[in-house]
């Protein structure tokens, strides 16, 4: 008789909150082989496998889990890499709860949690990195087309890897001194160790993808040169411009955009200052404005830098906050405080121009707005002051203005994002494709990867003469 699956996911070991707030090491520690096999047995291998439709890159989830169950981890890894060029990253940062795991049949059983697909993906990717020296990758014979990929974030790396595997010659252009985009400048070490990003980038380079760092397109290489030189171009340049509240006091010392704060900490490793050269202020009473994953990352980073108190101020409530549940719960465990229905209206400075607090106003929720969430409305005469020596605004980003100003002929929407076919990624400009945040606005790593993957597929169709929207 079949054994009923355990209703709960196999727990993944984590650093204890009291310990981890003192370091930048990864919070989640990953499954052991034994734990992975136990968890894989919870998968019913159901024929409908709805989980696959929940995955933006369509991984054969039951397939790789079946191999884990049999202890054939190398085979599991090969299945994963057929679909996903960055499995160790996705296993860590994908919002599985609203994707594959949301669709999992096991999760539909009353009182039961879905199969921990993300944790298994992470396990398999890490197992391969630790145990397989030269992962075998099948690369198609050379097709002779040259493709430029602009931006080395999740969308660009995915497109580059897929195109290289199809046999194209691929050049990736990155403006920063490291590749990975948001994976290296945005997501903190304790959620996604940079060594893992480097490992995945090395894998992509092993597919003969050439990555050119420090090469801003439109500046170091002109757009015209690019258009002349390459048969197709993929733009995965992200939504990198930080938004500011633009309230009084925004330019006081101690007020940061989350982008600046996280770039200093992650890309430049300011938490190791002065051993690393880039400094970052270490706030004692830190206020983070916003309710998304970036706000959680900023708050938890500030705590690890030694803040006595970190408060997240969000204008809606816990129900509406866009952050992943897991990130929020981790933040709560670590002692981050949350002030719901609160909006800063002014930052207060001292005589030396340093921030000392935020004047806030209480909000209440009104009718749903265009996002479907109830709109926050200020409550009159409800002003109060929150003391803070550091404020980090994590209220979202806008389109990257840097390259687009040079790329004449691209059509942009009213928010400044590139207008591109949502399936193929084709823009209005001949042979130019785009995908990721620069098309959709700020979204997730896996959605950008999905866009990169689809664009690679359609670029191949375009270059083989089977697709031409121009």
């Amino acid at each position: 008789m079949a054994v009923r699956p355990n209703p709960k996911k196999t727990l993944m070991p984590e650093q204890e909150p009291q310990e981890r707030i003192k370091n930048f090491s990864e919070v989640a520690l990953g499954y052991t082989e034994e734990q992975a096999v136990i968890e894989s047995r919870r998968c019913l291998q159901c024929p409908a496998h709805p989980c696959v439709s929940g995955c933006p890159v369509g991984i054969d989830i039951p397939g790789f889990i079946r191999e884990v169950k049999e202890g054939r981890f190398d085979k599991a890894a090969r299945i994963l890499k057929l679909y996903n060029n960055l499995p160790a990253v996705c296993g860590r940062v994908c919002p599985q709860e609203v994707q594959c795991e949301e669709k999992c049949v096991v999760g539909k059983i009353p009182g039961s949690e879905p199969v921990a697909i993300g944790r298994l993906e992470r396990f398999v990717a890490d197992w391969e990195a630790a145990n397989v020296r030269d992962p075998r990758v099948e690369i198609a014979p050379s097709k002779g087309g040259k493709i430029a990929v602009v931006g080395s974030g999740p969308a660009g790396l995915t497109a580059a890897a897929d195109l290289a595997k199809m046999g194209y010659s691929v050049d990736v252009f990155e403006t920063l001194h490291k590749s990975g985009g948001v994976l290296v400048y945005g997501i903190p070490e304790f959620r996604l160790p940079k060594a893992i990003v480097e490992r995945e980038v090395k894998y992509i380079e092993s597919l003969s993808v050439r990555i050119h760092l420090n090469t801003p397109i439109g500046k170091a290489i002109s757009v015209d040169e690019l258009l002349q030189e390459y048969d197709a171009i993929f733009l995965g340049i992200g939504a990198g411009t930080p938004k500011f509240m633009k309230i009084e006091g925004t330019n006081l010392n101690g007020v940061y955009s989350a982008n600046e704060f996280l770039t200093r900490v992650n890309l430049m490793k300011a938490y190791l200052f002065p051993s690393y050269d880039t400094p970052v202020k270490k706030g004692s009473q830190v206020v983070v404005v916003g309710g998304g994953n970036v706000a959680m990352d900023a708050a938890r980073s500030a705590l690890r830098l030694g803040a006595k108190q970190v408060k997240v101020i969000y204008r809606r409530t816990e129900q509406e906050m866009p952050a992943r549940r897991e990130e929020y719960l981790h933040a709560v465990e670590e002692g981050i405080q949350f002030m719901w229905l609160t909006q800063p209206i002014k930052y207060i400075g001292d005589e030396k121009g340093r921030v000392v607090g935020a004047e806030c106003i209480s909000m209440e929720l009104g009718e749903p707005d265009e996002s479907g969430r109830r709109k926050p409305i200020p409550i009159e005469d409800s002003r109060f002051i929150v003391e803070a020596d550091m404020i980090i605004e994590a209220i979202g980003t806008d389109a990257n203005r840097f390259l687009l100003s040079e790329f004449k002929g691209l059509s942009l929407n009213k928010y400044g994002y590139i207008i591109a076919d949502s399936e193929t990624g084709a823009t209005k400009l001949r042979k130019v494709f785009a995908g990721g945040d620069i098309v959709t606005g700020a979204a997730t790593v896996i959605e950008a990867m999905g866009a990169g993957k689809r664009a690679a597929y359609w670029i191949d169709k375009f270059l083989s003469g089977e697709y031409n929207p121009w």
Binding site: G240, F244, F273, P279
Partner: protein, 279 residues
């Protein structure tokens, strides 16, 4: 080899002139643009202006003020810079104006040089004021002598030229010539006073701002400045702005933001390399 130091010359105490190989930057850079340099895997990204452009290389002038600039000034010919990215920012808006006033101080003089050359190419007459603490700090004098239709040098101690500050030179020139447009590049305090003077004289004055930057490509907002009440990012909206519209007090406060950390970092560096006064 790309990013190799081809030539290094001392211009003044703690001020060095470098020629660095980089064909892309050499091909694309225009006057007014800047680069970001990083030294070593633990290095920070610092913005530096481009002082000249050659066949496959560019020129930059660096004053040692903090850890990274000291480290840079200690590097030698044939050494490699870890990362160089550019050209960044918008080029200067140069055309035929007529009479142009150029005001330079400190290493800002180097930033002014390609602007001066380009203005000359557009048949402008150049009225130049260069200033420094004393004679030895007024760099590139000979190069400007070849370009300027009139050149005034001011020194704080009177060791060369006029004893005084650059705004005195601005007054002298404006009193006798009708100036059509002006540029001032130098320490922020100097540019602030040049802007005040320009306002007094009714001059249009471009300044090249040098706020703290991290990525230099519009992604972090560290370099935000207030121009005419609007938030601008110096890296992508600048670095040149109308000097009379800059919120100078705010910029000066923001520039001092990391003073404590900068001192700590330099001290930490000195502990490992010893005395640096020889530079």
């Amino acid at each position: 080899m790309k990013n190799q130091i081809l030539r290094k010359t001392k211009l003044a105490p703690q001020v060095y002139d470098f020629v660095v190989e980089n064909p892309e930057i050499a091909k694309r850079a225009k006057p007014g643009q800047f680069i970001i340099v990083r030294i070593g895997e633990k290095g920070e990204r610092i913005p530096l202006t481009i002082a000249d452009i050659y066949e496959n290389s560019f020129r930059m002038v660096v004053r040692a003020v903090g850890k990274t600039t000291y480290q840079l000034c200690m590097m030698n010919e044939n050494d490699l810079l870890t990362d160089v990215v550019g050209p960044l920012g918008n080029p200067s808006e140069i055309e035929h104006f007529g009479n142009v006033m150029l005001v330079g101080g400190g290493v800002g003089i180097a930033t002014l040089l390609p602007i001066a050359k380009e203005l000359k190419r557009h048949q402008n007459k150049l009225f130049v004021v260069l200033g420094g603490r004393s004679k030895e700090y007024v760099i590139m004098l000979d190069e400007f002598q070849g370009l300027a239709d009139e050149l005034i040098v001011t020194t704080d101690d009177g060791s060369y030229g006029l004893k005084g500050v650059v705004t005195d030179g601005m007054d002298m020139l404006a009193n006798k010539i009708k100036i059509d447009v002006a540029w001032a590049v130098g320490p922020t305090v100097m540019m602030k006073f040049c802007a005040l003077k320009a306002k007094q004289l009714g001059l249009k004055l471009w300044v090249s701002l040098n706020p703290i930057m991290v990525d230099g490509t519009g992604m972090c907002g560290a370099c935000r400045v207030t121009i005419d009440g609007q938030m601008k990012f110096a890296c992508v909206d600048g670095p040149e702005f109308d000097g009379t519209k800059v919120d100078w007090e705010e910029l000066l406060i923001r520039l001092a933001q990391y003073r404590e950390e900068e001192q700590k970092s330099l001290k930490f560096f000195e502990e490992s390399v010893g005395d640096l006064s020889w530079l």
